[in-house]
Symmetry: C2
Subunit: 327 residues, 2 copies
């Protein structure tokens, strides 16, 4: 007997209807130089052009817009290293809800500043000694606010999945046949949502998640069949992909729908960011570049159609970016 | 009696048919943060995603594809500071024609390297002591090759104008009303082509060219009615926009169709590049950022509809870019 998954394709379509006209329908870009380099047709879904510079606005808006009445007035509390923080802050601003976000003190300065500029209250914590979950849960309980997780929530997963619906439409508009989709993975909400949307109408398309090598918990969990965790003290330049283990809701979806998990090194990520700068003319943050890195380094099995690479975000501090593109 | 202009809208439509499926139909992007900053709806035509990272491929392909027979075998000669060079080299490669490009020795290293990588022969010259025109004309005469100017040629102007056709379609798809279009200007070929395409079907739309302040020859020529030149020794970070005076073919078109010329400082260009990095997540080269700079600094008169900003190119060396975004 198959266990029920947390969301269905219908939930993604519901999210798409809710965010239409609010979220950006981001472009699917094609570069002949990238096709030649990879040796096949590659289409790049650029979520850097999304509100707040990452895909996170989609799920945040889909979650917050469903909070009504007294709960809406009490607002929301979230924790995030930065992209979910900005997505939640922007959605809360549009919906006129108070928002508080618990962020690590060492998050990229741009992400903290943008979250504040979008109107959210930011509570900083020390990643080494404090628990963001405990801080956020205590705040939410005190205020009667709704806790908005960054990935392990059906509305969040469905909201991120709207990218999958756009990919299906845009691949068709490009006259291409969808072969595989490469998607970055922290807690697995983005790839779970995209896979749910795409597998419904294109079951032959293969979906792979891509992680930094020190945070390969989903790749190992897909292989072992249970929720694996990262090593204590794991480090990566991909600040956005540092979830310690897959979600309780996301892993079953990803086990059911994904073809496997790919892993890239920080150096491959840096090379992908440089390629995007020099050839694609796109700013990409480290965590947003892992899928492109996997494509550039030929880590996925051969595709029987076009490969879609999801570039999930582009919020990177200028000094970090400058040092990476300088090589 | 009105003098005949060098091209008509029909020539732009002919170019569009010729480059279809070869050139990229670049995206028209919208950012809520940019709209809020400017105080109106702004749509960004991003030619960084074009083949070779700038609009120049459009005109080059439209010119080279019309060379047939013996002339095709003899190939082409061009001169360029870098973007026309790459456009010509890419078009020549696709059409299997030999190409030689005369480039200043101090052109951005990326532009020289890319032109060579695309298969063209590069002849370097010293901007202070040598004439690129003389070198190119001598080479072309010796080889029986066709000289391909960077802007003062009807096919080049018409090819660049294909951006105008795409703008009209994409503005309509975005549900917007076109108010004004801001376009960078070196010799004036790009803006002349775009204006020709747009004024045909949207005569109320206002087109402005934008130049770096030391190279404001077109703005002054539009005001005085004759071809003005820049001062000797003029400098700007906009390496792509350093034509010394408007073209013989482009100025009459621009006098007939443009609403005026705007001028930006190098510091305004740097600020626009930083905004594009931090908020739009797009890499833009200095010359490609002048229209965005004009929009961000409110230099155009109020628009009665959406403002389209043409981002014309994104070929910038990593060290230059790093120092600009670091502020």
């Amino acid at each position: 007997m198959k266990a029920q998954l947390a969301i269905s394709a219908a939930d993604v379509h519901s999210a798409a209807a809710l965010i239409a006209g609010v979220a950006v329908r981001t472009p699917l870009l094609e570069y002949s130089a990238l096709n030649e380099r990879v040796g096949g047709r590659v289409l790049v879904k650029f979520e850097g052009a999304q509100r707040t510079g990452s895909f996170k606005f989609r799920g945040a808006y889909n979650r917050l817009a469903r909070i009504k009445g007294d709960a809406k007035a009490a607002g929301i509390v979230a924790w995030s290293s930065g992209n979910h923080a900005q997505g939640v802050a922007a959605a809360a601003g549009l919906l006129a809800m108070p928002a508080t976000v618990v962020m690590p003190a060492d998050a990229p300065a741009m992400k903290i500043a943008n979250t504040r500029a979008l109107g959210a209250e930011v509570v900083l914590y020390d990643r080494a000694t404090e628990s963001r979950e405990d801080i956020a849960r205590a705040l939410a309980a005190k205020r009667g606010a709704v806790l908005v997780p960054s990935f392990d929530d059906p509305f969040i997963i469905a909201g991120q999945g709207t990218i999958g619906i756009e990919i299906l439409e845009q691949v068709r508009d490009a006259g291409a046949q969808l072969g595989q989709v490469l998607v970055c993975c922290g807690g697995g909400g983005l790839v779970a949502g995209i896979a749910t949307a795409i597998k419904e109408s294109s079951p032959a398309a293969e979906i792979f998640c891509v992680e930094p090598e020190a945070f390969d918990d989903t790749a190992r969990s897909l292989a072992s069949g249970r929720r694996e965790s990262v090593a204590k003290g794991a480090v990566s330049i991909c600040d956005a992909l540092q979830a310690p283990s897959p979600g309780e809701l996301t892993l079953p979806i990803n086990r059911a729908l994904l073809s496997g998990g790919l892993v890239v090194s920080d150096e491959q990520v840096r090379a992908a960011m440089r390629f995007a700068f020099a050839t694609m003319k796109l700013v990409i943050e480290p965590g947003g570049a892992v899928a492109l890195a996997a494509a550039l380094h030929g880590l996925a099995p051969p595709s029987r159609g076009a490969t879609v690479v999801v570039v999930s975000g582009a919020n990177v501090d200028a000094d970090v970016y400058a040092s990476i593109i300088a090589g």
